[in-house]
Assembly symmetry: D2
Homo-oligomer: 284 residues x 4
């Protein structure tokens, strides 16, 4: 079966190669077409435009950098919409619920099927097919796409109506952002109270709240090193959007609100482009 | 070698049996002496008073319920102090730094050696020798006691001067308390936003912040079930003490402060004796 | 000079009568035209449509209930835009900066002059000409409108570009919302600590933080009485918008964020339509 | 009638002179006795020791710098306790409830009467007899002392049992501390959003939340000038004690907790000895 693939950035390339390795036939497209070359070596065909890819394939996966790219690929001239009638489209980009819903409605109106399917996981899990996929939209189409999801992820979820994928990601990132602050406060308190913060890392790692994020970020935070894996400004944006979601639904979230202000403080210190663990600097 | 053991509550009993199983000779004492019977079946001797136990053994371990019990066993008539000259004493109870220091000073003045050694872990890890031991005090004595610590815990730390064990435990519990609030906010936000909170648990469990506490507490929180493993009022007390430690050292901790207020809100709702996960109720 | 006046709700009627009493000639319009009768008794003329009013007058003041009414009066058929060329328009409704800017741009494009001029103060100050006017937009037009502002308010400010009036109001309301929470926490702490909360009101009133809001709201809060002068849901909306403004500009505002969560908690308790002082209930 | 007066610091001297001017006969004492000279010029007698003053007078007022001075004057050799039988003692120093209660109990045991009576107001109100007096203790003695309180203060309150005076002061200072943070956030938000912060001061001053503190502190805060009238570290200590009082009584105070963390942040920046308005710096 022929699948389309739009967007060959860090994530998209890893995912596309992964699909090719597992025997899927792919037609790929990227705004900078030369980026398709490496995929061609792995056996992919190239489409001239998003519309051309969609026309050729049963369904098409997109992995784009942000909401504006996601919208552009669908709505622009030679875009997805022009050929979507009777076809399927899966947007795996990380976008807000509104963008997802806008794309979904346009595609349905034109007679296409749609899934939003943002992922959690970065480059390495993408290469290893270890993403977690948060899909929502057309249930029958989700089942049709399961063979691809099974290759791309260690687990996929079907979450119901379009928008739920984006929301689920926000909730997870909100919990993560608050945890990062709790962790940073603990490290700082240990250091300022005459304890060895490295030992705190060891103690934490042996207890019930041991987790991969503490293990990964702790040692670099103690060295004030914040190479951006997940930029602080994006984390703060997700906190803001999660708080806005809570506002709509009258959910008080005092801890997330306090964490959000700490991230804003970090932004005001010019740390927005560093890793989100740089919120650690606000306590010094 | 003969070791003394004072205090045969849930934790103390499990730890004493564990030592006996690993070949240690124990002389035990408990305020209600009948509680010693089961230990005698496992091969222990019984001492009539704390002083009698201390006199007989090279060093003595205590596992008592709270600071007042810890003080009483040491300072009362027929207490530890009366026979401590030339002996060692290890208090593994969870007490505040002040209590530890008070006991430490009295014992040293009388010519004894002292370690504070609070543990993290509850009944099950105590039975399985899987505690984490946070020891502080006399370094040479720590090394002498290592064989016992190796039986009782999966790992022991030596943290320097007396008081550091108590402080380290506070820092860990503070991080845990903030995390519990972050988790509870996430669950509530999911539910109120039309997501399935059970699915959120699954998604969290597949990501970088997956941890045993979320796995253990999540399902019961979704059922509004809060059987007390760690009572909320104790968690809130630890948050308060950690914030006080931060106050002494001018460490701002806005997330812990917000979490502490949520635990106080829970107390004001009469939830202090339930599990600390009952803070979940404050968001409803 | 003939002035137009659109919108005869509680505020608008009081303001229009005030202008008539001070010798201004008014042509008034209201969506429900019968509401114009009382104004006619005071000497006003009536216009059939917003466009008709604008056409007849040098400039027109609007005092409408919300952003959608404010937009409708301008953009609908027979609306302000149709006759605005060469005329002036002052929108004194409380709307967000975006709505103001949208109206402003449309009016300027059609050759009209525009001021946004939200007020602080409610019915009584409106009747007494004691409003505070936060004007922004065309400076020359502001000076032309000063005689009317001098009648309507005890003070008017010119704040620069359109949007600044709305922003200034948000900042003031944010400070007010945080203060209300601080006050409520103080009252609750007094009561729960065995002090007389009524005496606290007296003590506060004699000190440096004495203010009219504490004096007005304190006694009713102690009686758990929250007749809506300023509905809690509107206060919370203003807190949210102020926090969003802070987010845009990377301003950390931890106290406002905590206050906002308390207002959200109050909303979740179903108190959104009561007075904003009902946030007091969240502490019980 | 002869009244004793212990402690002639800035506050005490102003209060004592005020009493002399209103016809009271005073016997004064100060640790550095030479400070009594100015009072002698105003007609006071001098006592050699606190005990000597107490012996000579019906009742004695103390205005000392801190808890340790307050305790020393009572409990040391030649202290108040030695002659208190049948006499009255009014401690107007600002001390914590515990210190007050300790002094109260000792004096009652010796057959004396006691009032705690901390004041709000600084040097100028002390000179002008415009203090606010928060008295608690023996009701009959309070009524006996009213003529003196009427001279010293614009208003005195009788608050019931000893400790309530100290608690009332904490509650007031807590509200003040949260308000200062709300104010500072507003000023910062105005500046960073392109508004004129000086205009914000004018707008605030015309509305329902206008108060003397905003008027006094606003202009200097905009100049980053924080000459210490009320040192930040003392404000933060009062926030901490108020939060502790709330903790005892299970009162959640999320806004005060957030404000307290901001004051702690300010302390961590080395601003503890500046005015409490220096918390403004934490937002920059």
């Amino acid at each position: 079966m022929e699948i389309g693939f739009l967007g060959l950035g860090i994530m998209g390339k890893a995912m596309a190669i992964n699909l090719l390795r597992h025997g899927f036939k792919l037609t790929v497209w990227n705004r900078t077409l030369s980026k398709c070359d490496e995929l061609v070596e792995h056996g992919a065909s190239v489409g001239e435009t998003p519309a051309a890819v969609v026309k050729k394939c049963k369904y098409t996966i997109a992995m784009l950098s942000d909401p504006s790219a996601a919208l552009s690929v669908v709505f622009d001239k030679d875009g997805v919409l022009e050929q979507i009638n009777g076809k399927g489209y899966i947007d795996m980009s990380t976008v807000d619920a509104e963008t997802s819903i806008k794309i979904s409605e346009a595609i349905k109106e034109k007679g296409g099927n749609f899934l939003e399917a943002p992922v959690s996981g970065s480059k390495k899990p993408a290469e290893d097919g270890q993403l977690v996929i948060l899909a929502a939209g057309d249930k029958a189409f989700y089942e049709e796409a399961l063979p691809a999801f099974d290759v791309l992820g260690k687990k996929s979820f079907f979450l119901g109506e379009v928008g739920n994928g984006a929301k689920m990601k926000l909730v997870v990132n909100m919990v993560m952002g608050s945890m990062m602050n709790a962790f940073s406060e603990g490290l700082t308190l240990a250091e300022k109270s005459g304890l060895n913060a490295g030992t705190l890392l060891d103690v934490l790692d042996l207890g019930a709240i041991s987790n991969a994020m503490f293990k990964l970020k702790g040692p670099s935070m103690l060295k004030n090193s914040y190479a951006p894996a997940f930029p602080l400004k994006h984390q703060q944006k997700d906190m803001r959007l999660a708080l806005a979601l809570g506002d709509e639904n009258a959910v008080p979230m005092p801890v997330a609100a306090a964490a959000n202000e700490a991230f804003k403080k970090a932004r005001s210190l010019g740390l927005g482009d560093l890793d989100f663990s740089a919120v650690h600097e606000t306590l010094k």
